[in-house]
């Protein structure tokens, strides 16, 4: 996990100076760490967490509709 967080910082630091995502480095890293390290307390297995990070399998139908509206 520490490697992934370190790579997050590197990724945002390497973005162009005028990229709007550049200023979201800290909030992305903090939320990523919060979700990953809280997964065990939430009773979420590793496979489910990976699926959430990749596909959002943990979302219920109400949340899926919210994401569908977004995309």
């Amino acid at each position: 996990m520490a490697h992934k967080v370190k790579n997050l910082n590197k990724f945002f630091d390497l973005l162009p100076r005028d990229d709007p995502a550049r200023e979201f480095k800290d909030v992305t890293r903090d939320l990523y760490v919060l979700y990953l390290f809280s997964a065990i307390d939430e009773g979420i297995s590793e496979a489910e967490l990976r699926a959430y990070l990749a596909e959002g399998m943990l979302l219920d139908s109400r949340n899926i509709s919210a994401f569908a509206a977004f995309s």
Binding site: P20, T28, E42, F67
Partner: protein
């Protein structure tokens, strides 16, 4: 989807957030701190979402649990700094200094002194001053205490990791690191080949055998 969740969270839509983690979901009166995406153009939202997606993307079939530890490397580099500090460029003696650091890390400071004396043609058997002997004995006692403490810590770490690995069933995922198993360095003591004493050098020899090996007897 995690990237989309963050993007929605930054827009003030917390439907996709986990209820126990997101305080905004429990309290509607809270205001998102800057930076956020509220009121930003859709182009900016798309670009930020795409950047977050690329940043948090994990390789396929890779586990989130790692079995790698770098503490041994860190430990060696820490001891190496006493011979090769980073502020000076030892362009002539770099290799010799690193070699001495390796010998000290493996066999202790007494072995370094023996090695240096042999390199200068002196007898490898040192006539130590009482102060040096006392210092070495103190260091050796501290090393024994550290070794025992490290053994206890490793046992605790092993139990915690076994529990975590059992909780996170593999599910055909490849673990971080070779083999996907946690294999801490064996801290148990081993006997020398002469079976008279415990091996104290990295070569697996006791002190007497290492002296004879230095002299070419063995």
């Amino acid at each position: 989807m995690f990237a989309v969740g963050i993007a929605l969270h930054l827009q003030g839509n917390h439907d996709g957030c986990w209820p126990t983690l997101c305080t905004f979901r429990r309290n509607d009166e809270l205001v998102l701190p800057t930076p956020h995406l509220c009121g930003k153009p859709s182009r900016v939202v798309r670009e930020v979402s795409e950047a977050i997606r690329r940043a948090t993307k994990s390789p396929e079939s890779q586990r989130l649990v790692t079995s790698l530890r770098t503490s041994h490397s860190e430990s060696f580099h820490h001891s190496k700094l006493s011979y090769v500090n980073k502020r000076t460029d030892f362009w002539q003696t770099y290799e010799a200094r690193v070699g001495l650091a390796v010998v000290e890390y493996n066999d202790g400071p007494a072995a370094v002194r023996r090695l240096v004396r042999r390199a200068f043609g002196l007898s490898p058997v040192l006539v130590e001053s009482p102060a040096t002997l006392q210092r070495d004995q103190g260091r050796e006692a501290q090393r024994r205490r550290n070794r025992e403490q490290r053994r206890l810590e490793q046992e605790g770490v092993r139990q915690r990791r076994d529990k975590a690995m059992a909780d996170y069933a593999p599910n055909d995922l490849v673990a971080y690191g070779p083999g996907g198993t946690y294999d801490p360095v064996d801290s148990e003591q081993h006997m020398c080949a002469c079976m008279m004493s415990v091996a104290t050098t990295a070569a697996g020899q006791c002190f007497a055998c290492s002296l004879m090996s230095d002299d070419g007897v063995l």
